[in-house]
Amino acid sequence: MHQPQTVQEEKEVQSSAPAARLGRAIVLTSGKGGVGKTTTTANLGTALANRGARVVLVDADVGLRNLDIVLGLESRVKHHLLDVLEERVSLDEALVPGKHSESLFLLAAAQSREKDDVETAKMKALISSLRERFDYVLIDCPAGIELGFRNAVAGADEAIVICTPEVAAVRDVDRVVGLLGNRFRPQLVINRLRPNLVKKGKMLSVEDVNAILRLPLLGVIADEPEIIVTTNRGEPLALRKDTPTGAAYHAIAARVAGEDVPAPMPAPAKVTILERVGSLFGGKRA
């Protein structure tokens, strides 16, 4: 809302990489907690790696390590971000290879440390060196707009903001986008949309949200019970391209990579007449 409607689409994608062919460092952020930054990072990373790109996922949520769990890598993490920043181990020692892809790596957060322990300048330098080795550096940002946010954003040159169709989430994204300014050319992923509720006028629609945020829309992910299951198993849903939500993550990856493919919209489930009549008498208003 602060900035003029950004119309830079995917075109700048390839040209933005300077001559040295540095990878792209993209921070996934939201302001509000629990809206799906970590889930989106894991799935987008999986989908990008599946396309053959070299991808590293950096868990910048120091103190609240999550990304390893979502990727099913928690038992393989031996070193973490701060070990590298404080030069106790080399980058190679700290990078954890993914389970399902040879081109996906994780740099885990330190669980027993605090966000203030990270030095912004060192974080910046680390992301720079990762960009020399990977096509994509995806940074999973902690909630909030304090130091943890600033450190996560420091080395990034692009941002993907995650928003759920809720008043508080939209408000926080608006704030974060204001803080990011134009440098990061933020793009939007709307997460946990429930098309049936939207249809009934009980949930903000994609159009409602983006009438306010006015950001280039990368994609929309449905509120998907399977995500709970896949997170339990440590196998991101993007591994299953045949599911609608898995396919939606792949479409986002393709769009991030600069392909001109449409963003699929979650479709409302068909409601039978019987269910409809039932809800007339039993259902509560939202």
Binding site: V167, R171, G201, M203, L204, S205, D208, R285
Partner: protein
């Protein structure tokens, strides 16, 4: 029954409420985050008003208040003195305020053939109305007759 129909046609949504709340909360947020914008508005307001009255620039207060479905800007601008009405200002198209404060002057002061006919008509009507509210029919009637 209306609730039932609303349900049937799917318009009972809380999303409209959400949209409305969001719109207002973001306006407030953006104002809060832009104190320089408020200062600029204050300055411009004072500049405009100072053309007509002398105001106490140091005591101006500007607040924003939620009023149902709108955000209102409330300005408290103490007036120190009121300038003498400036004839060059009162003669241009919207003369009502002056006319209602001093109906006889306005009626007599405007030479009938100098003002365009449309303006004359309006002036006549306002002076009558003002005369009525001032409860001075005896002096007002000849005045408006003179204008004709």
């Amino acid at each position: 029954m209306i609730e039932f129909l609303k349900k049937l046609f799917g318009q009972s949504g809380s999303s409209a409420t959400a949209k409305e709340r969001l719109r207002l909360v973001l306006m407030t947020d953006h104002l809060e985050l832009a104190p320089e914008l408020i200062e600029a508005m204050k300055r411009d307001l004072v500049d405009v008003i100072s053309r007509h009255v002398e105001v106490d620039r140091d005591k101006i207060e500007v607040n924003f208040e939620r009023q149902d479905s709108a955000l209102a800007m409330l300005a408290n601008i103490p007036i120190l003195s009121v300038n003498r009405p400036n004839p060059s200002l009162t003669l241009v198209p919207v003369p009502e305020p002056v006319a209602s404060v001093q109906p006889p002057v306005a009626a007599n002061g405007a030479p009938p053939n100098a003002a365009p006919p449309r303006v004359r008509k309006r002036r006549k009507r306002t002076s009558k109305k003002a005369a009525g509210t001032n409860a001075a029919p005896a002096s007002a009637t000849p005045a408006s007759a003179a204008a004709n």
